[in-house]
Point group: C2
Chain length 178, copies 2
Amino acid sequence: MKWHDLNNDTCPLARAMGAIGDRWTLLILRECFLGVRRFDGFQKRLGVTRHLLAERLKRLETMRMLERRPYQERPLRHEYRLTASGKSFAPVLLAMQDWAQQCLPSDDPAPFTFITRDSGAEVCPVVTDRHTGQELNHRTVLMVPATAAAAKVIEAHRSAPTPALQADSSADTTTGTG
Amino acid sequence: MKWHDLNNDTCPLARAMGAIGDRWTLLILRECFLGVRRFDGFQKRLGVTRHLLAERLKRLETMRMLERRPYQERPLRHEYRLTASGKSFAPVLLAMQDWAQQCLPSDDPAPFTFITRDSGAEVCPVVTDRHTGQELNHRTVLMVPATAAAAKVIEAHRSAPTPALQADSSADTTTGTG
DNA sequence: AAATTAAGTTCTATTTTGGAACTCATTATC
DNA sequence: GATAATGAGTTCCAAAATAGAACTTAATTT
């Protein structure tokens, strides 16, 4: 399998890794959230080679996470700004920072934090269910093949045992729309 | 900068990319959450080369996200299981899957979903603040250098304007006003 | 005895990345 | 008016990582 192929994978997580599955892309996004917009700003702060930076910025633009827009003419210069897609990556950064601080600890304090825009208080991120408010983690949530999920829903509707769940979970791609 | 150096970066997000900033590691974790435990299980489902898979599993073990434990003797065979650290990565997967489904859409439906263990209902993940319940996203949250965050806290305590915030933000990181 | 299963390891070829120097248009400095 | 300096890249080569396939080892099944 090749790098590029991930972008067309049916699994959203695989596509996410097609987008940010390298050493630099997520760090470029981090800098965007910190307010950096220009090529040399990214380059100096990250220490990434200009070569790769140019390539990664181009990719982020292709993926519509960043947009390149002129900030001056004569000579023409562009800056990079987060698009709506780019901005909506913020919750992933929050979850990831929280996880890394707990599970990949460091002697040094984090150089950045997230604060609320209204109160300025440091946030304490937790993933919850939008509808029930329940905290979502490994204890409360199960990851299942889509077919099994559909079967679960059917089961819940009928409130009677269906053989669908135990049926055949041996094959690797049983994509059936329930 | 080298691959390995990220693991000791002071930034948690950089360390996170040291952990999962490649094409395969996160997909291996995905398979773990789906119940896969054995070398050949990962290999067949992901299509990753055995060489890389062995290397990545070793790394995940070193990072204490997976643990290798014997499941039979004669011949001795091991399986890989999520540790507490590995399990606590679940919220990141939830946030990432949600983001990718919205921002990297596909013609095909996702092959996996997350359901609650109690009701079996599909979850709708949203990152919130543990204390206030407020939804955390680009509109409600600001990413700031740790010093600026400290200044904000001091400011909030005194409820009087301090020069600390405007002090040395002359670089290209113009931490926005309000 | 030969094939199969399971979990790797070893080898070479290809792709990606790192590091440095170079370009090009304009503006600032001597 | 020549000489930096700035900003955003591009080009080139060396080093590292990844892909693909074959090989190993120990036991089990046919």
